[in-house]
């Protein structure tokens, strides 16, 4: 297959790149999974137990603020109801992006059915219906905008 020296070296280099890429990717996926909570260890402390909001208001202020102002926040649908708990030992799978079929359906079954009929079941409801920004006070969207400007 490789008739010249350059060809051989190219193949070796390419293989090396592949190994590094795959290895790097595997490492990143293992060390930084999609469903990783930096503060997992803290949630064992009574004071911090389940208080995702207290951390996220600092770590991801936009998301935390959107939730607080959004319908789910006003109605106290807390983080763990949809995202599960960080140690993954809960009844709900710990996930940054909750699965529409198993999570969203619990409360929004008629809406999921309607959307499924129209567009098929999407991987995420969130892409069209940002669940943290669906506001009761009509303020979340404005607040999001102002934050965008500030950033």
């Amino acid at each position: 297959m490789f008739k010249t020296k350059t060809g051989k070296w190219s193949a070796v280099a390419l293989l090396a790149v592949i190994i590094v890429a795959v290895g790097g990717y595997a490492y990143v996926m293992a060390a930084f999974p999609e469903n990783r909570c930096e503060a997992k260890h803290l949630t064992d402390e009574t004071k911090m137990a389940g208080d995702c909001y207290a951390c996220h208001v600092k770590a991801t202020p936009k998301i935390a603020q959107d939730w607080y102002e959004g319908k789910h926040g006003v109605l106290l649908v807390k983080c763990f109801v949809c995202h599960g708990q960080p140690d993954g030992k809960g009844a709900i799978e710990f996930a940054a992006n909750p699965d529409p079929d198993t999570v969203c359906r619990k409360c929004h079954d008629p809406a999921v059915n309607r959307m499924q009929e129209k567009y098929g079941l999407r991987a995420q409801c969130n892409e069209c219906h940002p669940y943290h920004q669906n506001s009761i006070h009509h303020e979340a969207f404005q607040k999001t905008q102002s934050k965008k400007t500030l950033d």
Partner: protein, 747 residues
């Protein structure tokens, strides 16, 4: 570069495949549900419809029932119901206490021992030496049956239940004002109202799906107003246009002051008052409107503002908002009921509707929210309290007793004419050795009674048999026998929620181990106690339900049209419902809606519970709580629920997410008080009342008023009820959980 184009594409494809291999595909939960079964949520008085998804004989998920009033929505607790069923703490075998330890036994042993103990006590000390203590979470059929067994079979009227701790003042309020118990409006009134008057209810945390409906209504029309009366800035107050952060215990004055404002601003409805209302004082003496107005002169906003703890201007605003709105809906809960003047608070809220005619119209109703999923229904309707008989009848009235005796097929005048002991009296009688045997069903009094140190000795002393699902319920520490019941969707039965809506919990799965349906446990136990088997000829809960329909049919309650078949098909029906083609009743006392009012009745409204057909506007004066704060105990302690946990936590602490997020109770303290005491957020503080002391972690903030501390009551390791007071409302006999004096000390 000798790498051919073809080779490059080949290698790129290989790399892509490798990369693709590295992407973790998210494992989808298996959604191949075998079948969905209809039920009602196990938790609060909202009574949301739930569908349970069953696979291989196990409940694997739940979702809201789109056909019930909740339109498919669930709250935090409801969405996480499934793990509760499979808790490792389930009792699955009968247990008998031997040498101080609960040990497995056979059903025969447990039933015979219990029956023998009850029989011996009855033979030796009379029927009043035994009692039953049930629950607003038991099935309607279970409560009806237990009440019949004890009242008709054993001749003991000592039939009580935890609704006495929860809804007794609402019962007292409705019966004194309208002559009949239970709300007259419905949840649909939320969608039609223009003013919410939320009094002593943290709806957001205690009835979350109803709160969503309230918030939706407010969002749909910016003119809709929300008034919240609560000494704490709860999550409910987040959507309030006016939050009256009152001093705990002085709000009767506020309600009278709002009535004063309504008349002064000419927002009353003179025609409604003239036709449908009369005025009475505490001595039940009838008064004129002028005399009522003179009574209200003592409650001008300016006179009561300091006492109530809000500005006079805010009281004027509240009165105007309520009166000016085209439709006003009052919603209240334990803040009004768990008080030594709970009945009066209930009366005074209804007054506001009667003087403005805001009742019986879409969006206008005095609507008491029930705490438990089947207190309003199963216990109040079927007569599961010591002074009641089924369908609104009372033991004290001979005519009522005779009606029930006829329906139950027992000799005339054979029912015990003396009402039984109410809850705190029952547990006190147990301490004194006057009641020797108690059967509990689906309740946890060793955690939920007030002033536990006073009542626990009674539990210890008497022979205690418990039908209880979870082995870690505090009450089992005192139990002599434990019967394992089928839980929630492991048996079929009916729940009735706050709005008079009855819905079926279908059997979806088999119960584990040796668990049996409580209806069958009660029947078996009754027969072994010597009750005539003809009195309890039931094979299952459906048989009991059909008898209950018959028993109710000759009364204004009338469940005749709510057949089992309809319940299986429909997602809830509101009584009265006299025939199978009747759609159910949204608004009572209104001609054209309430089937108890003939179509040709001359007036639009008829308050048929009272002899003269009129509702009563009560002249109830302000009264302080039984134990106000003083120099020695300067704080007011109040208790309540949090959205995460249900009652004594025996169910919610089985859900990993909830247990993790809310593992223990804390004390909420105002930041000014905390500063003065040198307490910081997270510090341990000791609460000391006249009945006990306990250490909690402090949560410092502005939720509580200065001088007020709040503790949630779910935590079995921190029983705040060791500190609460057992003072009761003289009318409803409901304890004043919401207010007692305490001091706070940093430790």
């Amino acid at each position: 570069m000798s790498l051919s184009r073809r080779d490059f594409i080949k290698q790129l494809a290989a790399m892509s495949a490798l990369t693709a291999l590295g992407i973790p595909t998210k494992a989808k939960a298996d959604q191949n549900i075998d079948f969905w079964s209809k039920a009602v949520c196990r938790y609060c008085g909202t009574g949301c419809g739930v569908m349970v998804g069953v696979k291989d004989g196990k409940v694997v998920t739940v979702k809201g029932d789109p056909n019930n009033h909740n339109k498919g929505l669930l709250c935090l607790k409801g969405a996480l119901l499934a793990p509760v069923i499979y808790a490792k703490e389930r009792v699955t075998k009968p247990l008998i206490r031997r040498n101080g330890k609960l040990e497995p036994a056979s059903w025969d042993e447990a039933l015979d021992l219990t029956a023998r103990k009850f029989r011996e006590s009855i033979d030796k000390f009379g029927p009043e030496s035994v009692g039953y203590y049930g629950s607003g979470q038991a099935l309607t059929e279970e409560t009806y049956l237990a009440s019949k067994i004890f009242k008709a079979g054993l001749k003991s009227n000592n039939v009580e239940g935890n609704p006495r701790l929860c809804m007794a003042s609402a019962v007292g309020g409705y019966t004194t004002t309208f002559g009949k118990d239970e709300p007259c409006g419905c949840f649909e009134d939320i969608d039609a109202t223009s003013c919410f008057f939320i009094f002593g209810s943290n709806t957001s945390e205690c009835h979350p799906v109803l709160f969503r409906r309230i918030a939706d209504r407010k969002q749909s029309d910016p003119k809709v107003k929300v008034i919240v009366v609560d000494p704490r800035t709860t999550n409910t107050a987040r959507i309030a246009d006016l939050h009256l952060k009152v001093k705990a215990g002085n709000d009767l004055a506020l309600l009278n002051a709002m009535a004063y404002v309504i008349f002064r601003e000419e927002l009353d409805d003179p025609r409604f008052i003239e036709r449908y209302v009369h005025f009475k004082d505490n001595e039940k003496k009838t008064h004129t409107l002028e005399e009522y107005l003179r009574f209200l002169d003592d409650y001008t906003p300016e006179k009561v503002a300091d006492l109530v703890g809000v500005t006079a201007e805010d009281i004027w605003r509240a009165g105007r908002m309520f009166g000016e709105a085209p439709a006003s809906l009052s919603l209240w809960c334990m803040g009004a009921n768990q008080r030594t003047r709970g009945v009066w608070a209930n009366n005074l809220i209804s007054n506001l509707h009667l003087i403005t005619g805001k009742i019986g119209k879409p969006g206008s109703s005095p609507f008491s929210l029930t705490g438990q999923p089947n207190a309003c229904g199963g216990v109040r309707d079927t007569g599961g309290l010591s002074h009641l008989l089924p369908a609104g009848r009372v033991i004290a009235k001979k005519a009522h007793r005779n009606q029930v005796e006829k329906q139950w097929g027992i000799p005339q005048d054979s029912l015990n004419p003396k009402p039984g002991l109410h809850t705190t009296a029952l547990f006190e009688a147990m301490s004194k050795g006057e009641v020797n045997c108690l059967l509990t069903l689906c309740t946890n009094p060793a955690h939920s009674l007030p002033n536990l140190h006073k009542f626990n000795p009674g539990l210890k002393q008497c022979f205690l048999a418990c039908i209880e699902t979870f082995s870690d319920a505090k009450t089992l520490e005192f139990a002599d026998v434990v019967f394992p019941p089928s839980f929630w969707v492991e048996r079929e039965g009916v729940y009735g929620c706050s709005e008079r809506r009855y819905a079926l919990i279908g059997k979806a799965i088999d119960a584990p181990g040796e668990c049996r349906d409580s209806v069958n446990i009660l029947v078996d136990l009754a027969v072994r106690m010597g009750v005539d088997p003809k009195l309890v000829p039931y094979k299952n809960s459906e048989d009991v339900w059909n008898e209950w329909r018959e028993v109710s049919s000759s009364t204004p309650y009338n469940f005749m049209g709510i057949t089992r078949e309809r319940l299986r098909k429909e997602s809830g029906i509101l009584w009265p419902c006299p025939t199978e083609d009747h759609p159910g009743t949204k608004r009572r006392y209104v001609r054209g809606e309430d089937p108890n009012i003939p179509a040709d009745y001359p007036n639009k409204y008829w308050f048929y519970g009272n002899e003269d057909g009129r509702a009563v506007v009560w002249m109830r004066p302000q009264k302080p709580p039984a134990e106000p704060a003083d120099a020695e105990y300067p704080f007011v302690l109040t208790t309540g629920r949090v959205i995460d946990h249900w009652h004594t936590g025996t169910m919610t602490n089985k859900v990993p997410e909830i247990n993790k997020s809310f593992p223990e109770a804390y004390v909420e303290i105002n930041d000014q008080d905390a500063k003065r005491l040198g307490v910081q957020n997270g510090d341990n503080v000791e609460l000391i009342s006249r009945r006990g002391a306990m250490v909690f972690q402090a949560r410092v903030g502005d939720v509580c008023n200065p001088g007020l501390v709040f503790v949630p009551w779910f935590d079995p390791d921190r029983l705040i009820n060791e500190l609460t007071i057992d003072a009761i409302d003289p009318g409803s006999k409901q304890p004043e959980f919401k207010i007692c004096a305490c001091k706070v000390r940093k430790v």
